[in-house]
Amino acid sequence: MGKTIIDAHNVSKTYKETMVPVKALQDVHLHIEEGEFVALVGPSGSGKSTLLNMIGGLDEPTSGTVFVDGVEITKLSENKMIDFRLQNIGFVFQSFNLIPVLTSRENIGFVLQLQKVPKKDREKRVLELLREVGLEEKVNSRPGELSGGQQQRVAVARALASKPKIILADEPTANLDSKSAGNLMDIMAKLNQEEKITFLFSTHDQRVIEKARRVITLVDGKVDSDVVQTPT
């Protein structure tokens, strides 16, 4: 048994602002250990994004508790939570993750600067990260000069920059063609293998699901199935 990294108990989320309250999550239990590579699947509206946001502390559950690396994040103040994310959680969204006016180098360096990493170490780490996602030659390109797949790879590199325990990715491949999607998944799988970084990503894409070693399926805000598989 590895170390528990994500531990969600009885997490429910009800959106009450709508005409009819929406139960986006209902009593979800989730237990993920360090180094896992987990796909979160389910039909549209099943609560995948909501669950990722709860785990990343971007939103608060209506009830239930979430522990990340032993810290009860559902109890953290907003500013503490932001700091916690900076140090422990990397986020990758579906698209347009990057600051358009900054180059790849600066986008990745930005997180390091927020962490107050000295300039020299920063430079080294940025290049290292870009190498890991295979984009060394794009250090000085702005997002607008990169393809969607390349942008997502820079976003993954940025998520990695802070040396987080987990990376949460909400449909990271949704806007990519299958080749770029496969490429991004290979990079994520490699980082998971080599650096033992825990990945939790939502997806609709069968080929992406196949890369996962564990697949959690949500239906109507509940965990419908949770299976371990051998990635292809």
């Binding site: 907003e78 700091d83 994310r85 986020f91 969204f93 347009f96 940025r158």
Partner: protein, 407 residues
């Protein structure tokens, strides 16, 4: 550093919008500076003109003189003091005066008049009294029983140049003062009040007439700059014995003029206020657009660990950058314009010119190049930039990252 750079890059995301906003700030600042420069210049010129005929910027009297203006409250002229005062670089001239009253008569006409004993040289330099002569000539020496009289008075007494007036009054310590004085010249003075009441005579002649040898009722002080008033007053007070003397500013001696200027400039502040109010809308609109169109990006930045107050800080920097750019360009252009018009003064023409000349003012639009004008406008813009960034900043602090990312 990183945030400065980010803010700078951000403002150029929409080049045209930023340039338009910068231009609006630029024109507002330039207009405001030019406007302040002209109004301040006109006031300064007016003050200078008025005080050089009357009180001077500052006046030293014997303590109590201002409340009881009598020759008995005169004081002894002091060479040492004059020297010390003139050592102050802010002080340009001293005008010693002995101001008294007398009954003047010529043939069968008699009139009460104000007799000003003056130093012909310094008055000539300060207020060009000699140029106001419409008949006859200015004093040739300092110690003769000659006088200059206002043209209004000359009419009332029915006198002309080279006539001799008799003056009778009360001298120092109730001595009697009487003498005959030859009219050297007739003056046309701007103020009708002075014009029909004043007689100028050389200081020594008046001291002799009133039995007040070497005494003055006032020592008027001229300054290089209108704005040095209060600091110079303090400097003068430090030079003299304030138990024995009083130092007054023109504002204290002529409160009506001070109030007039205050009231008049209040109107100008309103005009400038409206100007800035209008550009505030433009700046505010730009800021709102700049922040709202980046809502999703803000959400993502919060998700990757950037504190909301840092985001608000970046937006504040953006606001300051846009407005300061326009402001600094406006200040530079303002300096150029003020410089240009100071070097090549604009002359009034037509009836306005006559009015000015009647009052003995030069018919010129003065531009004040006082640094205060430039600093004030810059500060106003800076404060505006900060105030206007408050609302978008507040919006950022209340931003829900999830909603922002989904927007």
């Amino acid at each position: 550093m990183m945030f400065l750079k980010l803010a700078w890059l951000n403002i150029w995301r929409n080049r045209r919008r930023t340039l338009i906003t910068v231009a609006s700030v630029f024109f507002a600042v330039l207009l405001a500076i030019t406007f302040r420069s002209v109004t301040d210049g006109v006031y300064e010129n007016m003050i200078h003109n008025v005080v050089s005929y009357s009180s001077g910027y500052l006046q030293i009297h014997k303590k109590g003189y201002w409340d009881e203006q009598s020759i008995d409250n005169s004081f002894e002229a002091d060479e040492q003091l004059s020297k010390k005062l003139l050592n102050n670089p802010k002080i340009t001239y001293l005008m010693p005066r002995l101001e008294t009253f007398a009954l003047s008569s010529f043939a069968d006409k008699t009139k009460g008049v104000m007799v000003l004993g003056i130093d012909p040289v310094s008055e000539k330099e300060v207020n060009r009294l000699n140029e106001k002569i419409i008949e006859g000539q200015y004093f040739e020496s300092n110690n003769v029983d000659h006088i200059l009289i206002g043209s209004g008075l000359a009419e009332q007494l029915n006198t002309k140049v080279n006539d001799t007036l008799v003056l009778i009054g009360q001298g120092y310590h109730a001595s009697s003062a009487a003498g005959k004085f030859k009219i050297d010249g007739i003056l046309k003075l701007g103020s009708p009040e002075l014009n029909s009441n004043v007689i100028y005579m050389p200081l020594q002649a008046s001291q002799y007439l009133y039995g007040a040898e070497n005494r003055l009722t006032s020592l008027s002080i001229m300054l290089g700059k209108t704005s040095d008033l209060e600091s110079s007053k303090r400097a003068v007070e430090n030079t003299i014995d304030i138990e024995a003397y009083e130092v007054m500013t023109w504002k204290q001696m002529m409160p009506e003029m001070d109030q007039f200027i205050e009231a008049d400039s209040a109107g100008h502040y309103i005009i400038i206020g409206i100007l800035y109010f209008i550009i505030s809308f433009g700046l505010f609109g730009t800021l709102l657009m700049m922040t709202f169109e980046r809502n999703r990006e803000f959400g993502i930045l919060i998700a990757i660990g950037m504190k909301k107050r840092l985001l608000a800080y970046v937006v504040l920097l953006e606001s300051i950058m846009i407005s300061l750019m326009g402001c600094l360009m406006g200040v530079l252009a303002g300096i150029l314009i003020v410089h240009l018009f100071t070097e090549n003064p604009v002359q009034f023409s037509g009836s306005l010119r006559e009015v000015y000349e009647d009052y003995g003012f030069e018919p010129i639009i003065y531009f004040s190049g006082h640094i205060r004008i430039f600093i004030t406008q810059t500060l106003i813009i800076l404060v505006l930039a900060i105030l206007l960034a408050l609302y978008p900043g507040f919006k950022i602090l209340r931003l829900k990252p999830v909603d922002a990312i989904n927007s």
